[in-house]
């Protein structure tokens, strides 16, 4: 079975932090001002939240991929 994973494009991310606000269990802007993805795997029950975080990113830096 394929797992859904969060992908971060660091060239687009400017650490606006909206993803952290939506899904703090997955994202945190660290003390250096860089976005950290705390865990990549998205189980089915977290899918809606992860999609919301992806849609909430103003710079289009986040995506979900099946691997």
């Amino acid at each position: 079975m394929k797992t859904l994973k969060i992908k971060l494009d660091r060239s687009k991310c400017t650490s606006l932090g909206i993803c952290e606000s939506i899904a703090p269990e997955y994202f945190e802007v660290d003390d250096q001002g860089q976005l950290a993805v705390l865990r990549e795997d998205v189980p089915e029950e977290m899918r809606a939240l992860a999609e919301q975080a992806v849609a909430g990113c103003p710079t289009g830096a986040l995506s979900l991929e099946s691997e």
Partner: protein, 403 residues
């Protein structure tokens, strides 16, 4: 009543997210998206930021809009402004024809205010649309001096872009302190000090008497009689809700389309984005925001309620905006009530955090170059934390940074 035809008027972020949310929710009926600009939906924040750099970046269209009509089954009516709404007949008039709807989403946004008397003078610009931004960028390509009228966020971002090209830039502000309504006096002073630190001249408490020039602007004349030479003038004096087409419709218009907490403005009529003034359940007052995050979330939320009329949900949202000046990141969450208390850094430094209170409630936070902190404050505000809890978080954050 479950709608068969959803009409979305306004094809920017809120309108686009509404259409996407309708299809994601399984809505199989007809959707029409009307926009007054000819372009497909594009993103606005970059227009006053990196888009103005000399490299000539393309218009920042939202991902996937090139086949929006076919992919989501949306009838696109671009380049056509709505002219009139009839709530009883449930129709919207465009310039040439009339569209009947079952449910309507109003997402017409705001229009940049123009400087009275500046009409028709070349070299004078506002910045709201992609066309505006293309014109401003071309103007900056032609060199300075640049005069920015209004020291708000858009004016400051444009000043920053012009200054980073090495141009001579002057910002004129009528108020003694910029950004008072957005962040309070002391914080406004602290943020606007960034201009001087990066070589931009900021003049406050000055009124513009007139723009001088024949066909093209040559100078700005101030009320004290002095004159500032200008090759380009950018007018950044705010924006007004685009509600003229709704006058006489019966909707309540008062600094935007007034909505209840579910974003409903009338039976089968909803509003979202910069044009919507809704009753915020988080702050128990009417709010109208010109923020990216709010537009995106409101568009989706309004459509969800539209499709679940028996179980509408209140729109909860803690305001968030950001602004980038001279490579410095300004972020704000909550409401700017009164003057804030500095809890980290220094008002004169390139990094600080300030907190706002309303009685015992911690209600807002402003940061300069504190990207790690801002959303942690937002979470507290969302759960109506007390002032002491806010201070405790500030202490924790200061310790984390010192570690």
């Amino acid at each position: 009543m479950y709608p068969e035809h959803i009409l979305v008027v306004g094809a920017s972020l809120a309108g686009l997210r509404a259409v996407e949310a309708a299809r994601r929710a399984g809505f199989g009926g007809r959707i029409t998206l009307v926009g007054d600009e000819a372009r497909l939906p594009y993103d606005r924040p970059p227009l006053s930021k990196e888009f103005l750099d000399p490299a000539s970046a393309p218009v920042p269209f939202f991902p996937g809009v090139e086949d929006l009509g076919a992919r989501l089954g949306v009838e696109l009516r671009l380049g056509q402004a709505a002219r009139r709404l009839d709530l009883v007949a449930r129709t919207v008039d465009l310039e040439a024809d009339r569209i009947a709807y079952d449910a309507l989403l109003i997402a017409t946004g705001v229009t940049a205010r123009q400087l009275p008397g500046a009409h028709g003078l070349a070299g004078v610009h506002t910045l709201r649309t992609a066309d505006d931004a293309i014109a401003v960028r071309a103007a900056l390509d032609g060199g300075g001096p640049v005069v920015v009228i209004g020291a708000g966020f858009i004016g400051s971002e444009v000043a920053s872009a012009a200054r980073q090209r090495g141009l001579e830039v002057t910002i004129l502000e009528t108020l003694p302190t910029p950004l008072v309504r957005s962040v309070g006096a002391q914080a406004g002073l602290a943020l606007s000090a960034l201009h001087a630190r990066h070589g931009t001249t900021l003049r406050c408490s000055v009124g513009v008497e007139a723009l001088e020039g024949g066909q093209r602007v040559e100078a700005v004349r101030l009320q004290d009689g002095s004159r500032i030479a200008a090759r380009t003038v950018i007018v950044g004096i705010g924006a007004s809700p685009a509600t003229r087409w709704l006058e006489g419709s019966g909707l309540t218009l008062d600094n935007g389309v007034v909505c209840d907490d579910s974003l409903s403005a009338a039976q089968q009529v909803w509003a979202a984005g910069d044009v919507a003034r809704w009753h915020s359940p988080d702050f128990d007052q009417l709010l109208r925001l010109e923020h990216w995050t709010n537009a995106a979330e409101q568009g989706a939320h309004a459509v969800r309620n539209m499709l679940q009329p028996e179980q509408t949900m209140a729109y909860h949202h803690i305001p968030y905006f950001w602004s980038d000046w001279y490579g410095q990141r300004i972020q704000f969450v909550g409401l700017p009530v009164g003057d804030p208390v500095l809890v980290a850094g220094d008002w004169n430094a390139d990094a600080f955090t300030a907190m706002y209170r309303q009685g015992d409630r911690f209600i807002g936070a402003l940061t300069l170059n504190r990207r790690a902190d801002i959303m942690k404050y937002r979470a507290l505000i969302a759960r109506r934390a007390g002032w002491d809890e806010g201070l405790a978080l500030a202490a924790t954050r200061n310790t984390a940074r010192a570690a």
